[in-house]
C-alpha cells in the first residue's frame, strides 16, 4: 500500500468512524461476554449453593439450570448482535471507504 493511500485513508472521517465505533462495539460485547461467563464461574467458585436453589417452592429444577441455558443463549445472541451491526452499518462504512480510496 502506498504511503499516500495510507495517509488518505487514515484521514478519511468514515475510516475514523469505522475504527472507533467497531472497536467500541467489539470490546463492549467482549467485556459483556467475559462478565457473564466469569460471573457464572465466580458464583460456582464462591457461592455454588446459589445455583442449587429451586426455581420455585417444592420444585426440583434449580436456578442454575435456566441460568446455564441463558448463558448459552446469550453467547448466541451476542454474536448475532455483532453480525447485525457489522453486516449492516460497518459494511456500509467499509464500502464507502473502499470507494473513496479508489
Amino acid at each position: 500500500m502506498q504511503r499516500k493511500t495510507i495517509d488518505a485513508i487514515e484521514a478519511n472521517p468514515h475510516y475514523q468512524e469505522l475504527v472507533r465505533s467497531r472497536k467500541r462495539f467489539a470490546w463492549v460485547l467482549t467485556l459483556l461476554m467475559l462478565a457473564i461467563y466469569y460471573g457464572f464461574i465466580l458464583t460456582i467458585a464462591f457461592a455454588p449453593e446459589l445455583l442449587a436453589v429451586p426455581v420455585a417452592e417444592g420444585a426440583i429444577t434449580t436456578v442454575g439450570m435456566p441460568l446455564g441455558i441463558l448463558i448459552i443463549l446469550s453467547a448466541f445472541l451476542l454474536t448475532g448482535l455483532y453480525v447485525a451491526r457489522a453486516n449492516g452499518r460497518f459494511d456500509r462504512l467499509t464500502k464507502t471507504i473502499q470507494e473513496e480510496a479508489r
Binding site: T62, Y82, V83, N87, Q98
Partner: protein, 577 residues
C-alpha cells in the same frame, strides 16, 4: 493417480473390516459383538465421503483450493463445518457421560467450550479473514520477520495438533473397539488411512464437506435422541429432573455445581483455557480462510455458535434423561451393578455402566431406537472422529508446507506445485505419526492432552495473534519472546500438574487413609491463569525494549496492516471458479 486411488484404497480398507468379524466375537466382555448395522451405516458414510473426495480432488488444483477450498464456502456452510470441526466425539460422548455422572457439572464444562466463540467473533474472525491467506501464521507474521514468527507459529501449531490428535486417535481406537467390535489397532489404522485419503486427495474441499455432513448427522441424531428422551417425561424437564434425582446416587446434588470445580483459582484457570484456547486452535482459525470475505466470516461464527450451543443443550438433556432411562435397562449394566432381582442398584448406577460412562449416549440410543438407531449413533461417532482428525491433520500439514516450507525454507520462491506436493507428503507423514502415536499411547492416560492442547493454544497462539492485530508497537522480538514464554510455561506447568506429575508419571503421596494418591508439584490443574499473562507480559516487555531498526519498520508497517484489517482493502479474494 488422483482418479483411481480413493477407490483402490477403499477396497483395501474393507479387508480389515471383513477380517475383524471373526475374532472379535470372542473379544473381551466390555467390547460389543461386531455390530453389522453400525458397520454398514458407517460404510455408507465412508462411500459417500470418498465420493465427495473424488469430486473434490478434481477441483483441487491450486494451493488456494487445497488449503481453503478456493475460498468459496458460504457462511452457513462454514458455520456447519466449524461446528463439525469443534463437536468432537469427546464432547458428545464425554459431556453426556459427565452429565450422567455428575449432573450440573457437565453444563459448566459445555458453557466453557462455548463462550470462546463470541470472543473469536468480536476480536478475530473478520480480522483473520482480512489479513491472512491460508494459515493463522499469515496473520501472526503479517508485518514481522517471516522466518522467526512463522517457525514459532508452525511449531506451536504442530504441538497443539499433535496433542489434540493423540487424544482423538486414542479415543477413536477405544470407542470403535467398543462400538464396532474392531481391534484397537485396526480402528486407529482405519481412522488414520481414511483421514489421509480425504486430506491428500480432496484437501480443504473434501475436509469441509466431511465436516458438514458429520455436523448434520450428529445434530439430527442428537436432536432425535433428545426429543425422544424428553417425550418419556411428557416433555417436562421438571419431571425428568425429579425422576433423575430419585435414582441418582447423589440425589439432589446433581442439580447444582459439584466437585468438578474445586477452588476459585482452578475454576478461573480452566475457564481461561477453554475460552481463549478455542481462539488459538489452528484447525479452527484455518476455517476462516475458506469463506470469500469478512461478512461471510462473521456469519460463520454466528451459525457455528448457534449449532454448538444447541448441541450442548441436547447433550445435557441426553445425559440427564439417561440417568432415568438407562436405569430401566439392566442389560446395559455390569452384573455386579444389579440387585438379586436384576434391578439396577442406585449406588452402582455410575460405576456400573457397561463400557463406562462414555458409553451413556450410545446406550441411550439403543434404549430409544433399538439396534438401528444404535448403529446410526455409532456410525455418527466414528464419522465425528474422522472429521475432527481430518481438520487437525490439514492444519498441521499446512503449518509444515505453507509456513515452514514455502515461507521459511523456500522464502517465498518455491513453486505452488511443490508446496501442494509437500503438504500432501506432510499429510501422509502426519497420518503415519498419528497412527503410530495412537497405537503407542493405547494404554496411556491421555486425558490431560486435550486440556494441554487448549492451554498451549490459549497461551502461545492467542496472545501473539491478538497483539499482532491490535497492538501496533509489538515487534518480532516481542512476539517471539511472548509466544515461546507462553508455550514453555504452559507445557512446564502442565507437566508439574497432578494430571501429568501424578497420574501419568506416577508420583504419589500418602492420602488421608494412608493409601497413595497421585499428586502434582503445584496445585494448578490448568496453566492458563499463569501462562496467558506470562505470554502477554513478555510480548509487552520485549517489544517496548526493542528499538532495533527492524522494530521501527514494523511499527510503521502497522498502519497499512490496520487499514487492511479494518477495511479488507487488499485482502485475499475468493477463487474465480
Amino acid at each position: 493417480m488422483r482418479r483411481l486411488a480413493p477407490w483402490g484404497v477403499l477396497g483395501a480398507l474393507l479387508v480389515p473390516f471383513a477380517l475383524a468379524a471373526a475374532p472379535a466375537m470372542s473379544g473381551p466382555v466390555e467390547r460389543q459383538a461386531v455390530n453389522i448395522t453400525a458397520i454398514s451405516m458407517f460404510l455408507t458414510f465412508v462411500v459417500a465421503t470418498l465420493g465427495i473426495t473424488y469430486w473434490a480432488a478434481r477441483r483441487t488444483r491450486s494451493a488456494k483450493d487445497f488449503y481453503t477450498a478456493g475460498g468459496g464456502i458460504s457462511g452457513m456452510q462454514n458455520g456447519l463445518a466449524i461446528a463439525g470441526d469443534f463437536m468432537s466425539a469427546a464432547s458428545f460422548l464425554g459431556i453426556s457421560g459427565l452429565v450422567f455422572a455428575s449432573g450440573y457439572d457437565g453444563l459448566i464444562y459445555s458453557i466453557g467450550f462455548l463462550v470462546g466463540w463470541p470472543v473469536i467473533m468480536f476480536l478475530l474472525a473478520e480480522q483473520i479473514r482480512n489479513l491472512g491467506k491460508f494459515t493463522f501464521a499469515d496473520v501472526a507474521s503479517y508485518r514481522f520477520g517471516q522466518t522467526q514468527i512463522r517457525t514459532m507459529a508452525a511449531l506451536s501449531s504442530l504441538v497443539v495438533v499433535a496433542f489434540y490428535l493423540i487424544a482423538q486417535m486414542v479415543g477413536a481406537g477405544k470407542l470403535i473397539e467398543l462400538l464396532f467390535g474392531l481391534d484397537y489397532w485396526m480402528a486407529v489404522v482405519a481412522v488414520g488411512v481414511l483421514m489421509m485419503i480425504y486430506v491428500i486427495f480432496g484437501g480443504m474441499t473434501a475436509t469441509t464437506w466431511v465436516q458438514i455432513i458429520k455436523a448434520v448427522l450428529l445434530l439430527s441424531g442428537t436432536t432425535f435422541m433428545a426429543f425422544a428422551a424428553l417425550s418419556a417425561f411428557g416433555f417436562s424437564p421438571e419431571e425428568m429432573f425429579r425422576q433423575a434425582t430419585e435414582i441418582h446416587p447423589t440425589g439432589l446434588d446433581i442439580m447444582g455445581p459439584g466437585s468438578l470445580v474445586q477452588d476459585p483459582i482452578n475454576a478461573i484457570s480452566l475457564g481461561l483455557a477453554l475460552m481463549f484456547g478455542t481462539a488459538g486452535l489452528p484447525h479452527i482459525l484455518m476455517r476462516f480462510f475458506t469463506v470469500p470475505d469478512a461478512k461471510e466470516a462473521r456469519k460463520s461464527v454466528f451459525y457455528a455458535t448457534g449449532f454448538i450451543g444447541y448441541f450442548y443443550i441436547l447433550t445435557f438433556i441426553i445425559g440427564f434423561a439417561a440417568i432415568v432411562l438407562l436405569a430401566q435397562h439392566p442389560e446395559f449394566f455390569k452384573p455386579e451393578a444389579l440387585s438379586a432381582e436384576g434391578a439396577v442398584l442406585s449406588e452402582r448406577l455410575i460405576s456400573g455402566v457397561d463400557g463406562g460412562t462414555n458409553m451413556v449416549a450410545v446406550r441411550l440410543a439403543e434404549a430409544i431406537g433399538g439396534n438401528l438407531f444404535l448403529g446410526f449413533i455409532s456410525a455418527v461417532a466414528f464419522a465425528t472422529i474422522l472429521a475432527v482428525v481430518a481438520g487437525l491433520t490439514l492444519a498441521g500439514a499446512s503449518a509444515i508446507s505453507h509456513d515452514l516450507y514455502a515461507s521459511v525454507i523456500a522464502r517465498g520462491r518455491g513453486s505452488e506445485a511443490t508446496e501442494i506436493r509437500i503438504s500432501r507428503f506432510a499429510t501422509f507423514g502426519l497420518g503415519l505419526v498419528a497412527i503410530g502415536l495412537g497405537i503407542a499411547f493405547e494404554s496411556q492416560n491421555v486425558a490431560f492432552m486435550v486440556g494441554l492442547a487448549f492451554a498451549i493454544a490459549a497461551s502461545a497462539n492467542f496472545p501473539v495473534l491478538v497483539a499482532s492485530i491490535f497492538w501496533g508497537r509489538m515487534t518480532t522480538r516481542g512476539a517471539l519472546a511472548g509466544g515461546f514464554a507462553g508455550l514453555f510455561s504452559a507445557v512446564v506447568l502442565t507437566v508439574m500438574s497432578k494430571a501429568v506429575w501424578g497420574d501419568v508419571l506416577g508420583h504419589t503421596a500418602p492420602g488421608p487413609d494412608g493409601a497413595p494418591v497421585p499428586i502434582g508439584l503445584i496445585g494448578l490443574d490448568n496453566p492458563a491463569i499463569v501462562s496467558i499473562p506470562v505470554a502477554f507480559f513478555f510480548i509487552w516487555l520485549v517489544s517496548l525494549l526493542d528499538n532495533s531498526e527492524q522494530a521501527q519498520r514494523e511499527r510503521i508497517a502497522y498502519r497499512a496492516q490496520r487499514i487492511r484489517c479494518e477495511t479488507g482493502i487488499g485482502a485475499e479474494g475468493a477463487a474465480s471458479h
